[in-house]
């Protein structure tokens, strides 16, 4: 053992000392002390509470400190549908949070609008604020939310830098989804639908 150590070019370290990159150390601290900002507007909020409570115990992953002030949080969990009257509030709270910060879109409604495809409900918060993790489900079970937080921890560890350079990449700056709405009246385009073409030719031959 002593022989190989002396032959190796590696640095000799005293006991209880590890070598790491400062970026990784910062990410390690951040990922293990996520402070969630609960933006719970619907039934997903109940599952969010269950996740924080004793049975599922989010504190096992260092994320149990729910704060109701955005100034003290670094993880926004949007749990539930967001109506258009609420969206300016959501954006303001997001802007009040300090960097580095992350966002989890919890449940079908927050991610896509869910079944509420109406004039009042925003069809996915990722159209208007950045989102890091999506949790499917209606509502998702606490295990799913915990999995999302674990995955987010991996993401933070992988790409985190002490100066937050990862947020300046082009990919993170892009709008998450093209703001394209469906046209008001769907027009049938036969050129892209072979079944429709067949039906049309059949009816045309019947007429002849």
């Amino acid at each position: 053992m002593a022989v190989t150590q002396s032959e190796s070019p590696s640095l000799e370290l005293p006991e209880n000392v590890v070598v790491s990159r400062l970026d990784e150390l910062a990410s390690w601290c951040r990922k293990n002390s996520l402070w969630p900002m609960p933006f719970a507007t619907a039934c997903c909020g109940i599952e969010l509470m269950a996740t924080g409570a004793a049975k599922h115990d989010l504190s096992r992953f260092g994320a149990e400190v729910f704060r109701f002030s955005p100034r003290q949080c670094d993880l926004m969990i949007v749990a539930g549908r967001v109506v258009m009257k609420m969206l300016p509030v959501l954006q303001r709270i997001w802007q009040q949070m300090h960097e580095p910060k992350w966002c989890i879109s919890m449940g079908a409604c927050a991610s896509t609008g869910g079944v509420f495809d109406t004039y009042a409900v925003v069809q996915g918060i990722d159209r208007f604020i950045p989102v890091d993790m999506y949790v499917p489900g209606c509502p998702p079970r606490p295990e799913q939310l915990i999995q999302a937080i674990i995955d987010l921890q991996d993401k933070i560890q992988e790409e985190g830098t002490i100066a937050g350079r990862e947020f300046n990449t082009r990919q993170r700056q892009e709008k998450k989804r093209a703001l394209v709405e469906y046209p008001e009246t769907l027009t049938l385009d036969a050129s892209r639908n072979p079944n429709l073409q067949r039906e049309l030719s059949k009816s045309a031959s019947n007429l002849n």
């Binding site: 258009m84 009257k85 969206l87 300016p88 954006q91 997001w94 802007q95 949070m97 960097e99 910060k101 495809d117 109406t118 004039y119 009042a120 409900v121 925003v122 069809q123 159209r127 208007f128 604020i129 950045p130 947020f167 300046n168 993170r172 700056q173 892009e174 709008k175 703001l179 709405e181 008001e184």
Partner: protein, 175 residues
């Protein structure tokens, strides 16, 4: 008051309130459905008729709501307003209905009679665009202030006219 069946409507009414309304604003249409008295009053006399009913003991204003009869079979008018009144003295109930039409659906506000009508009329204004004359503070109640449409009208598209996407997009750079 006679009522022959629990489910059918009965037009022969000898309700005291209806008799008074008949004397006050001409023959009114009235019916009973499942033992509940309903009466249709003329729109231009609605305030006086409701004021009369308040004096006759209907001291509790339960609700005012609206129905859009666009493309409704046999409908003669566009909007129907429904007032639900009750008496705390003898637990009597009365449904008062009246009809208004486009282009300026207007009806007299009953806030001077029942303070409870304030927010209820604001809600009807917000969602159906019925104008309540004499209302002290006719603002939108549930939709945002800058909203321009009345979304519960049947000719308003379910998915809106782009209002839900009319927001600035915050990227990582902005926040």
């Amino acid at each position: 008051m006679t009522n022959t069946s629990d489910t059918g409507t009965e037009t022969v009414i000898e309700n005291a309130h209806v008799r008074v309304l008949n004397a006050f604003c001409g023959p009114v249409e009235s019916s009973i459905y499942r033992k509940q008295q309903r009466v249709i009053v003329p729109t231009e006399k609605s305030f006086d008729a409701l004021s009369l009913l308040k004096d006759r003991g209907f001291d509790l204003f339960i609700d005012v709501t609206c129905v859009d009869y666009l493309e409704y079979r046999k409908a003669k008018h566009r909007y129907g307003l429904v007032y639900l009144l009750a008496s705390t003295m003898n637990t009597e109930r009365l449904t008062v209905r009246l009809f208004v039409d486009d282009p300026q659906p207007t009806v007299a506000s009953v806030v001077p009679l029942w303070e409870a009508a304030n927010w209820l009329e604001r809600e009807v204004w917000d969602l159906f665009g019925i104008n309540f004359t004499g209302h002290p503070d006719l603002r939108r109640l549930v939709m945002p202030e800058e909203f321009t449409a009345h979304p519960l009208r049947k000719d308003y598209p379910l998915q809106g006219r782009g209002e839900r996407h009319n927001f600035p997009v915050i990227t990582r750079d902005h926040s």
